[in-house]
């Protein structure tokens, strides 16, 4: 990662539809260079994906539910992750270490949705306990895991100091 990589990242974070040609013009590079940098960062896993951020309240969603799950010691955590991942509306599942073993994020239209998912998680044999937190944030798929410009600005400042 160097300054050029970061500048390309910054441009695309602001608008990931921008053509490589336009970014190249702005940064005084060749379009080929920009494309190579993009592809390199994709390969290295720095870029998870170019995506769109949606506001799902526009199609009737009222928020997200965070499910904090405790795994039964008799089962592998991977089993819980696998089963929870199959549930409708659950868009992100991760193993976690701390007070809980698995976290699952789901988009919900109403409390009925959340209760339904909650019951389905409870039915999984490897699950011993489920706790829920609700939020009215309807941004999707901006996840609680992958960063965008919001924290990127901080990152940018940190790098500039070096």
């Amino acid at each position: 990662m160097d300054k050029i990589d970061l500048k390309v990242l910054q441009e695309l974070t602001e608008n990931s539809e921008t053509s490589f040609r336009r970014i190249a013009m702005k940064l005084g590079l060749s379009p080929k260079t920009v494309q190579n940098r993009y592809e390199k960062m994709e390969r290295q896993g720095v870029i998870f994906r170019s995506t769109v951020e949606l506001d799902l309240s526009k199609i009737g969603y009222s928020g997200k539910a965070y499910f904090f799950v405790r795994n039964s010691p008799k089962y592998e955590v991977a089993e819980t992750v696998n089963e929870v991942s199959k549930l409708k509306q659950v868009f992100l599942v991760s193993e976690i270490v701390g007070d809980f073993d698995v976290i699952a994020l789901a988009m919900i239209k109403d409390f009925g949705d959340a209760i339904k998912i909650n019951n389905e998680i409870r039915k999984i044999p490897s699950v011993s306990k489920v706790e829920i937190a609700f939020t009215s944030n309807t941004t999707f798929p901006l996840t609680e895991k992958f960063g965008t410009i919001f924290q990127y600005e901080e990152l940018w400042k940190n790098f500039s100091k070096k």
């Binding site: 991760s94 701390g98 809980f100 937190a133």
Partner: protein, 157 residues
Amino acid sequence: MKDTVRIDEIDAKILRELIKNSRTKLKDLAEYCNVSINAIFKRIQRLKESGLIKRATLFTNMGALEYEISATIGINLNPDQEQNVMNLIRDKKMNLAAISRSMGKFDLCVFVMAKNLEEIEDLKRDLILQGINRVSVNFWGKTHVQYENVELKAVGR
């Protein structure tokens, strides 16, 4: 209830493709949805104007940028403590993926990315010093995304 937007199958298809890759060419979308490029352009325009598509952006994997630790911090607090806690977290200038006021198990869920454990320890200690006794820290491991699990279609009126 906010204004809802009616979307049809083709809109949903476009949205799913753009979530996967916002750089997908109009030509490819047109082929995939079996409509004209002009129709795709108009549909995307409408989805943007309605506010359903907020912006096209990039998900960066912070783990590959030295931010190797992601944690979820669940906090229980009294309403009069909220402002102080928000200020404390803001002043830390940590990399937040999200911060949400919530109901249920926690009152506040903070998703943070850090370069080392000390940053998280430091935050937890300062929260406790503020009189917040119930702080639940969970570190993230392997993450799986299934965006296609979320139903994309108009509801209600």
